[in-house]
């Protein structure tokens, strides 16, 4: 079963470009449309999300669970 959600966490701004490249690789391989990319960790914010091409910023673990359950229709 293909992944529905992909969570990527980082703590350093120097990892931003690696995450961006990771998401671009998903696109190149034709996998991007099937998966929701969530990012989290200390330095990320909405602007970073846009820069990386991710779908959603998760501020903490709790919010990530809530978002994922809602997205997957889990009650």
């Amino acid at each position: 079963m293909p992944a529905i959600l992909l969570g990527i966490s980082c703590l350093l701004t120097t990892a931003f470009d690696n995450i961006k490249e990771c998401i671009q690789t998903l696109e190149r391989e034709g996998l991007r449309g099937d998966v929701k990319v969530l990012i989290g960790g200390g330095p990320v914010d909405e602007a970073t999300c846009k820069y990386m091409g991710a779908d959603h910023v998760c501020r903490n673990a709790q919010e990530t669970v809530e978002y994922s359950k809602k997205y997957m229709g889990v009650k």
């Binding site: 350093l12 701004t13 120097t14 200390g42 990320v44 914010d45 602007a47 970073t48 820069y51 903490n60």
Partner: protein, 376 residues
């Protein structure tokens, strides 16, 4: 104007902010030591370890660059030789750029978790300082084997820093207390420590009592030996997204309460460098004396909420996000800094980065923050 006169102006500016008064302008004290790349963009983070004296020279040059010369804090020099031993704070090994990591990567702390469940009894029976030495042995760290600071070089480089006319106010160089909760979480590793809190809370609390008491004595002695204006305390693993108020009250805040009293009683302020989201715990900081502390968040705690809850009690410093200075534009940085100046300043506020200015920050972004702060 002489460097000494400039230092006096900057000192008055910073003391006004720390004492919740209105300074002649909002002070700027950036954290982080990567400005050397603004002078020579070909340099990499590995140079910090490989060529520490060159990095120091470049940091001093960066402090003289147009616009950046307005920054009030002095560059942090003489740190290159200390990076390797930094991991010992967390009973960890260090992964270094140019060794385990790429040349331009930031060093990383690789936790080892050498403490066992039985070691809580050692802390309670023999003291934390005894177990601490044992833990160093287990990770193969010998503080005595570290090269001593080069006193002649440090005197020479500090003379060059003094000639910059920056503020002479800084944290104590003799002691950087770390909340005992954080130290144990590193010694045990975080997942194990969180299980301990649940399975054996009384034993953990008994060990914390011993550790906190030892730190109270250590901090008091350090302040008496060399009284600083403030002492830096790091908090990284106790944000409200991370632990519950019940856990914070029982296992963490006790440290702040005891240490702040020691600092304030001995004439120093407490500089809380609190990473992650502390919004839910801000109410606990209302108990501290007026102008006895500084709250220094990264960008994850809403700084306007800090102003609302603690603005009348303590100076606030922060919080330009590292993401903004690394991938944002100068215009975005300028607007963010302006919003801080207008919403948090002008009294009791110091412009600062949220945690540190990252190694991939753009010079023009840092300049935009400075320009917004000095009103240009």
């Amino acid at each position: 104007m002489t460097p000494q006169e400039m230092t006096e102006i900057r000192n008055r500016r910073i003391m006004a902010a720390l004492n919740l008064e209105k300074p002649d302008r909002i002070p700027i004290m950036f954290s982080g030591q990567m400005d050397f790349k603004f002078v020579d963009p070909t340099m990499v983070v590995a140079d910090y370890i490989r060529r520490p004296k060159l990095v120091d020279e470049m940091l001093i040059q960066a402090a003289k660059l147009p616009i950046l010369e307005e920054i009030d804090s002095a560059p942090t020099v003489g740190m290159g030789g200390m990076i390797e031993s930094m991991g010992s704070i967390w009973f960890a090994k260090m992964k270094l750029p140019g060794r385990e990591l790429p040349e331009d990567a930031l060093w990383q702390i690789d936790e080892q978790g050498p403490m066992t469940e039985e070691d809580y009894d050692t802390i309670i029976d023999k003291g934390w300082s005894v177990l601490k030495q044992e833990l160093f042995d287990r990770i193969g760290f010998n503080p005595a084997s570290m090269p001593p600071p080069d006193a002649d070089y440090m005197a020479e480089i500090q003379k060059k820093v003094a000639e910059l006319g920056k503020t002479s106010i800084s944290s104590s160089a003799k002691v950087i207390p770390i909340p005992s909760f954080e130290v144990l979480s590193a010694a045990r590793k975080l997942p194990q420590f969180f299980k301990d809190l649940r399975r054996m809370p009384d034993k953990v609390r008994a060990a914390l009592d011993i550790m906190e008491s030892e730190d109270e004595n250590m901090v008091e002695q350090a302040i008496k030996d060399d009284p600083p204006v403030y002492v830096f305390i790091g908090g990284t693993r106790a944000g409200c997204d991370f632990i519950s108020p019940k856990v914070y009250e029982k296992f963490y805040h006790t440290y702040f309460r005891k240490i702040v009293k020691v600092m304030n009683d001995n004439g120093s302020k407490a500089w809380f460098h609190n990473d992650s989201n502390w919004e839910g715990f801000l109410k606990y900081f209302k108990e501290f004396p007026k102008a006895g502390c500084i709250f220094d968040p990264d960008h994850l705690t809403d700084i306007f909420k800090i102003k609302e809850i603690l603005g009348d009690i303590m100076c606030i410093t922060g919080n330009v996000p590292p993401a903004l200075t690394s991938v944002g534009t100068p215009d975005e940085c300028y607007k963010y800094a302006k919003k801080l100046c207008e919403g948090i300043g002008p009294s009791g506020f110091i412009m600062n980065s949220g945690c540190s200015v990252p190694p991939n920050a753009k010079r023009e972004n840092v300049e935009a923050v400075v320009l917004a702060t000095i009103g240009k």
